[in-house]
Symmetry: C2
Subunit: 160 residues, 2 copies
Amino acid sequence: MDDSPTNAVAALLARAGIEATPLRLLVAEVLDQAGVALAAADILTRVRRRHDLNKVTLYRILDLFVDKGLALRHSSGERAKRYCLGSRFASKPHCHAHCLRCGRTLCLPVAEGLVNLEALGPDLPLAVTGVEVRIDGVCAACAAKARAKGPSVDAKRGKP
Amino acid sequence: MDDSPTNAVAALLARAGIEATPLRLLVAEVLDQAGVALAAADILTRVRRRHDLNKVTLYRILDLFVDKGLALRHSSGERAKRYCLGSRFASKPHCHAHCLRCGRTLCLPVAEGLVNLEALGPDLPLAVTGVEVRIDGVCAACAAKARAKGPSVDAKRGKP
DNA sequence: GTGACCATGCAACTTTGTTGCATTGCCCGG
DNA sequence: CCGGGCAATGCAACAAAGTTGCATGGTCAC
């Protein structure tokens, strides 16, 4: 009951055609367990709780994951990009809910009909290869906290 | 017929409640004439063709513009954020078309019904304050160039 | 064994801003 | 007219998020 998640992510790597190494497994595991989109710095912190990891190596692993379609990289509205494991969402692009208070970025399930490009008219000035949607707001947890402690709380990055 | 655009942007500043200074007018003029969303570095280059400008001052002017609702700041998928004048689009948020070849970011007209949040289900896990949509693809100009010169052109940042 | 390749690490660098502090010009009350 | 204060600007140093170049150590094919 302790290494079975490791086996699961090993299978993910294999399916994506990525050779498994201890560090790649750890990174994939962290992403898989997070359930939210993480910034590279967050991933670094979490992996390092279990094993040393150089940031360059992390960036290279993330590049590889994105390349092979295992992970998705997207802009979070903040400076750092975020990464999430595609597996949870059938490797399909999905949109993200970004809480402006705590900084957490949730991956939302893929939804057909979320973006209606035809609303822009019939002659879009470019050949579309991808669409990124980010929804900014205040998450339920932060809203509850705000109600409890008065409406002027402004803590950033409680938990990523 | 040469300073009338300057008068126009002066009126924009006034309407946004921003005191006009020579540099602010120049920055607003550059943004207004660009018609596309520009990165800070691009704005710096363009303003400097006419006048010295420190980058710190530019960032402060941009912050002010965004604060007052005159300009919009959004993430471009690349590292740098982009800025565009809200005026062209009735100061309403709009979405952006980002060409992956030349790096240009077009502002698309505001379209009702572009994003259908209800597609995500009735219980969105956060109180929405804003939605950012970016459409990635290849613009008409780059597509034409690719057709003319063979399909493997890959120039980045021809003109912003 | 030997050469080649791959994953990893370290240090230095780049890009995109940000912060702290100094300077300058302008207005306002006296 | 004078002095204080404030707003706009500049300079230098800093900071975050990556990126690049090069070294090292392990593994595999021959």
